[in-house]
């Protein structure tokens, strides 16, 4: 079982909380304590939303699916046996919900990309990653985001998920294996193939 390492609330922009006791919050939420539910949402909302957003590349869909994830989790919290961390269980709900959603609307993908964080001034650095021989030399940061997200959408849901969890969110292979209910080797293999496919889709832009 992997413990959730963070005791820092992402919702508060890095502000340190007194101490995050997941088990206590979960048992209180089981008894219907809304404050505990609120604390659990605050704790995990950003990561759950981000995972779904990177899978769908659509803000509205991600917002709806993230809400559904928490509602489903609280309605079924009695089924949570504690075999894994609550965070992993929550992630599994989010991931299954999202994969079902993607499969149901495979032919109707609409990208609605979020803006880059305002305090992140690495636009030039990002554009520096693009080849000088790119078909559109004067590509801007927003276009590059769109191209990357469109390439992500070409991956299968499982490949997209493994790239999102590992390369975007930085989760370790073991935790991804727990979330995806597969072993670490499968995670590595999927990651390898997903990256190769992404490189093939972006080859016009990534050449040295």
């Amino acid at each position: 079982m992997l413990e959730t390492p963070s005791i820092v609330s992402p919702a508060k922009g890095g502000e340190t909380m007194p101490e995050w006791n997941e088990q206590e919050h979960v048992s209180r939420a089981r008894e219907g304590d809304m404050e505990a539910c609120d604390a659990l949402v605050q704790q995990y909302q950003e990561r759950i939303y981000a995972t779904i957003y990177h899978m769908t590349s659509n803000h509205e869909d991600a917002a709806d699916l993230a809400q559904e994830t928490f509602i489903k989790a609280f309605r079924k919290i009695q089924n949570f046996k504690g075999d894994s961390a609550f965070f992993t269980w929550l992630y599994r709900i989010a991931v299954n919900n999202t994969i079902n959603f993607i499969r149901s609307k495979r032919r109707r993908v609409i990208l609605s990309i979020n803006q880059m964080d305002e305090d992140w001034d690495s636009g030039e650095e990002l554009l520096g990653l693009v080849s000088k021989d790119t078909p559109q030399r004067d590509i801007d940061r927003h276009e590059l985001q769109g191209i990357l997200n469109a390439a992500m959408q070409k991956l299968s849901p499982n490949h997209r998920l493994v790239v999102t969890l590992h390369d975007v969110q930085g989760l370790p292979h073991e935790q991804i294996g727990e979330i995806m209910d597969c072993n670490t080797n499968t995670v590595r293999t999927r990651l390898h193939y997903a990256r190769k496919q992404l490189q093939a889709h972006l080859s016009d832009y990534l050449k040295p």
């Binding site: 539910c37 880059m116 990357l148 975007v168």
Partner: protein, 151 residues
């Protein structure tokens, strides 16, 4: 597919890491929890039959039960078919068709069609009527019949 170029791979990782900076509009997360809790207080929609089955039935056991049922139906069908074959198998050949249609009537039925009706008399194959006919005769060599005795 060939192995990825390390330079391209490094660029790809940086690009993917930059996705972390894609954020929703300001205040989205301040309102998010309230929306979830408001929706949570609403009465839950009645679960569909599929959802109830999904919650209460272990998929592995359900698959095993369906598999066992299919095998059972297969065995029952096989036994049923076998007993039917056994029944028809015991019937003497002559009784299989109680009232066979006379041969002539069958031909009459064909008369309506444009097919030529030639009633040929059954004959045995020609080779049986005249054995050896059509084979070339060869005179036997005289020397071939001589018996050589050791001296």
């Amino acid at each position: 597919m060939t192995d990825p170029d390390p330079t391209e791979f490094d660029k790809l990782q940086k690009l993917l890491a930059s996705k972390k900076k894609e954020k929703p509009e300001d205040g989205f997360f301040d309102r998010f929890s309230d929306r979830v809790l408001t929706r949570l207080e609403e009465p839950a929609p009645r679960p569909t039959l599929w959802e109830r089955l999904n919650d209460q039935v272990d998929p592995f056991r359900a698959a095993a039960a369906i598999f066992a049922m299919l095998i059972g139906v297969g065995v029952w069908y096989g036994l049923n078919e076998g007993s039917h074959l056994a029944e028809t198998g015991l019937e003497p050949l002559g009784q299989a068709e109680a009232n066979p249609e006379p041969l002539g009537q069958g031909l009459d039925a064909l008369a309506g069609s444009s097919l030529p009706l030639t009633k040929s008399k059954a004959e045995p194959p020609r080779i049986l009527m005249n054995p050896g006919a059509g084979l070339a005769t060869r005179p036997a060599k005289a020397s071939s019949n001589t018996v050589h005795t050791p001296k």
